[in-house]
């Protein structure tokens, strides 16, 4: 599915859009208002980024009253992550923890 890949890459290539996506990954579901309050751009601009993230299936929206809540869909990233890259990240993170432990250990 080269088109799906292209769309994922294109969508995440924009730093502002990526920042919105990363915030949703870290902090969970949020409203457009909450996202705007901490972004340096206007609410319409945030909404536009969210629409593009939704098109790429990177976020899902849920309507509640007048509010729309957005949440990250990490599964959409699966095509980009092969086993090798993923395990490399895992071990690098373990190496970090190992190094921290070694600093704390007695000789």
């Amino acid at each position: 599915m080269p088109n799906a890949h292209d769309m994922l890459f294109r969508t995440l290539a924009d730093p502002t859009r990526r920042a919105i996506f990363e915030r949703l990954c870290r902090e969970g579901e949020q409203t457009v208002g909450a996202l705007t309050a901490r972004a340096k751009i206007s609410q319409p601009a945030v909404s536009k980024h969210l629409r593009m993230l939704k098109q790429a299936k990177l976020v899902r929206d849920r309507h509640e009253g007048r509010q729309t809540h957005y949440s990250a869909q990490l599964g959409a990233l699966a095509p980009l992550l092969d086993w090798t890259g993923r395990m490399t990240g895992f071990w690098q993170s373990r190496f970090d923890d190992l190094e921290d432990l070694l600093k704390r250990m007695d000789q």
Binding site: R26, M87, S93, L102
Partner: protein, 132 residues
Amino acid sequence: MTGTRAVVVEREMPFPPEKIWRALTQPHLIAEWLMKNDFAPAVDHRFKLTGDWGSVDCRVVTVEPNRMLSYTWNAMGLESVVTWTLTPTGAGTHLRMEQEGFRKDQAQAFHGAMFGWQKFFTSLEQVLGRTE
């Protein structure tokens, strides 16, 4: 999308091999940087690494104190061997980890990817927590 591949992570550690060896082979120390476990540095010893997301079945393959350690690593249908190599350097130790010999499977890769991202964000949070 099948075949054998390897993941290699290497790092210069400013610590002697003996100290790193302890961190790689003592269960209470392994628990601090990897996962809870019932490891013992004996060839053919079977042990489990247990995380929040599930467990990894392992068997010790090689034990050369302060030099080399390897064990099988079977999780979510992925069969691999993890090999640690410790090489003394002037300033400490060159530590190398190689994981090799797995078969790729899309469904497992998907679950693993979710785990990988959770770990990534956990680490990110820890980093952010430290800098605040």
